[in-house]
C-alpha cells in the first residue's frame, strides 16, 4: 500500500525531508520504522531512541504498535511542545 509519511521538528531535520510517499507492506508502525531504517542511515539516526518518537495515523495520535491497515498518512515527530 502507498502511504504519505510526514516528519516534523528534529525528526524532519534528521531524516532530511518534510514528507515522502512510500510503498510499504508494514503491518504496524513499528514495522514501518524498521523498513525505513533498513533503507538509509538517516532514518536510523532519526529513530535511534524510540521513546522520544511520537506517531500520528491519519492525524490522530497512535502508538508504535498501532496497525497500519487502511492508513493513508503517517506522521513522526518528537513529544509536542505547544502552549
Amino acid at each position: 500500500m502507498r502511504v504519505q509519511v510526514l516528519y516534523f521538528s528534529w525528526v524532519r531535520e534528521k531524516v532530511g525531508l518534510p514528507k515522502e510517499t512510500i510503498d510499504t507492506e508494514a503491518k504496524t508502525v513499528a514495522d514501518l520504522i524498521l523498513e525505513l531504517c533498513l533503507k538509509d542511515e538517516r532514518y536510523k539516526l532519526a529513530f535511534s531512541s524510540l521513546d522520544v518518537i511520537r506517531v500520528a495515523l491519519d492525524q490522530e495520535l497512535a502508538d508504535l504498535s498501532s496497525p497500519m491497515e487502511a492508513v493513508k498518512e503517517v506522521a513522526f515527530f518528537p513529544p509536542m511542545t505547544g502552549g
Partner: protein, 149 residues
Amino acid sequence: MKIVVQLEAFNPGEQLDNFRDQLKSSGALVSFSGMVRDIPGGLAKIKIEHYPGMTEKAINKICNEACLRWELEDIMVIHRFGNLKKGELIMMIATAANHRTNAFEAAEFLMDYLKSRAPFWKKEIGFEKANWVSSKDADEKALNRWKTP
C-alpha cells in the same frame, strides 16, 4: 467555540473583548497568555512548527473534552506558528462559565493538554546556539491529575 491557528500576531485585548461580547449568561471569564521567554545567552527568535490539519483537529478534541467536563458557555484558543521574538505572545486561551471554578479549572486543563497533545514544536534560536525545546516529565505528569479513575 473559537479555534485559530495563525502566523500573524494578534491583539489579546481585542480578542478578549470580542469573546466577551458574544457571551450571553456567563459570570466568570478566565484568560491565559503564553509568551516567548528569554534563554541564557540571549534569544534571537523562536520558530514554532506545527502539523497543519492535525493541529486544528487536536485542539478541537481538547476543547470538546473540556466542554464535557465543565459547564462552560464558550472557549477560545488562539495559537501562533512561525518566527516569534522575545516577549511576543505565542498563544492565548479564554474560558467563560457561570462560576469561576469551572472557568479556572477548564483553563488549566486546556493548557495542560495544549502543551503536550497539540502538534506544535518550538525551536529556540539563540545568539550562541539553537535547540528544539524538549518536553518535560512534568508536562506528562500534569495530565495525570485530569485522568478519571
